[in-house]
């Protein structure tokens, strides 16, 4: 990082701030997923037939779990 042309060594505060920002992003992302599943499930049942709504929500949930869990296995 540079400030007024000088090289500034990253401070612990920067590290903490980045970590907090990353935590907020993860947290909001997960909250969004939970809200989408909650309202999406009700909406799908209102607008779609039983079979289709179960299929859509079921597939979405399974894909979420596969992607969410699977991406950590590569690390």
């Amino acid at each position: 990082m540079t400030t007024a042309g000088a090289v500034r060594v990253p401070q612990e505060d920067d590290f903490e701030a980045r970590r907090r920002a990353a935590a907020r992003r993860t947290g909001f992302g997960l909250l969004l997923v939970a809200l989408i599943f909650f309202f999406g499930f009700i909406a799908s049942r209102v607008w779609l037939s039983s079979d289709v709504s179960m299929g859509v929500v079921g597939a979405a949930v399974v894909v979420f779990v596969i992607v969410a869990v699977g991406r950590h296995l590569r690390k």
Binding site: R19, A22, A23, T26, G27, L30, L31, V33, A34, L35, F37, F38, F39, F41, I42, R45, S50, M54, V57, G58, V61, V62, F64, V65, I66, A68, V69, G70, H72, L73, K75
Partner: protein
Amino acid sequence: MSSITQPIGGHGDAAGGHEHHPSGIMRWITTTNHKDIGTMYLWFSFTMFLVGGVFALTIRSELFEPGMQILRPERFNQLITLHGLIMIFGALMPGAVGFANWMIPMQIGAPDMAFARMNNLSFWLLPPAAIMLLLGLFVPGGAPETGWTLYPPLSIQQGMGMDLTIFAIHIMGASSIMGSINIITTILNLRAPGMTMMKMPLFCWSWLITAYLLIAVMPVLAGAVTMLLTDRHFGTSFFDAAGGGDPVLFQHVFWFFGHPEVYIIILPAFGLISEVIPTFSRKPLFGYASMVYALCAIAILSFLVWAHHMFTVGLPAAGILFYMYATMLIAVPTGVKVFNWLATMWKGSITLEAPMLFALGFLFLFTTGGFTGLILAIQPVDVQFQDTYYVVAHFHYVMVAGTLFAFFAATYYWLPKWTGHMYNETLAKWHFWGSFIFFNVAFFPMHFLGLAGMPRRIPDYAQQFTNWNQVSTVGAFGFGLSQLILLYVVVMCIRGGKPAPAKPWEGATSLEWTLPSPAPYHSFPTPPVVQ
């Protein structure tokens, strides 16, 4: 798993100048400390375990003899419902979250949970929800008589207690989702430098996957019970056949949540056992990577088998075959885990302290429950056993001997770290043997009762079932009384005892054992470096 660590600043600094916190009741109400919140979760879980246990003993007392003795049939059914809901949502899930709160930050070298205030809120939502659940007993019509599955049409016809139950499930669900967000965020963002995912203790892995499962299924359950609520009060007909709704859809939705829920409860237990067995075998966990992959496989497969709970509703033949084989498939990753635990012990320098005894008890009894699960997975057999005591025996072998025994193992394992004192090993072993023997006395005869055709959730039974019911009731009381030993051991350990060293177990390797005992109020203010 990480084993060699170098905390920056040394252990002593972990506590230095950071031990100030409010005292008295305000400490517990306002705390954002993961250890305090973990403690509150664990005490809440134990309290609910006792409440649910008293309900279970009341049920078993009624079943001691045929005929109606102490309960009216509707009250019997209400206690069945509350026993299930309290044990699952009040005892087992909060218990697992309690262990997660206490241990995950310490195991990954984090100073606390990522969202400390939300952590406080997610705990304090639970007591009002539990009160709301129990309040159902005192309102007109009483608590729901539906069983914990809340199937319509009965759940649509029930009194006000059903509304209280639905709101309680909403609140507990919100608490679980907040807890899960916190756990995932903490694990993904607050790991110490060098603590890669594949170096994490398996307990953290098990909770990471569990938390994803919770985020996936809890909103679906919340949606389903919300629709139940609108069916009851706002004239909708999602599940009400009288208005063109589909009651079987509720069963699908409920079990789409309910089956992963079984794994939500058992996966953290797998994680706990994976900590205890290597420690007391003095060997690293056999097949760490395969354990992680097995956890993932179980989590994903848990979404594909829900209809094995519904083999008698009239599924198409192709569906029956799919769910039958998919259910059997879960035995493969579960078998991998059991094999790895056994291989960890193989040629290990095993000692049988209380945590290891409970871990071995878990291994033996959970595997028994797993085998009866395989039997129930076979549809033609399941049709015969549907709603009999065989099913009750099966899921108690999984839930009680599985999860609860793992909780007991973990409690004794980490008590020295939590309290700074060694517990009374003799009494802890008494607790194990009391629990192990009386658990089998209580639940093994239920296999015979189920095979003979005794239906569950019925307060009366035919004369020929009397003997095994009496044995089962005696076992249930023995098991319940054995838990008082745990209470005594824990209280005595908190009050004093032989001081515990930082690492009381020779074979323990994870980060929490680098901290002094008891663990300082704020641990790892500076992240340790994992080599």
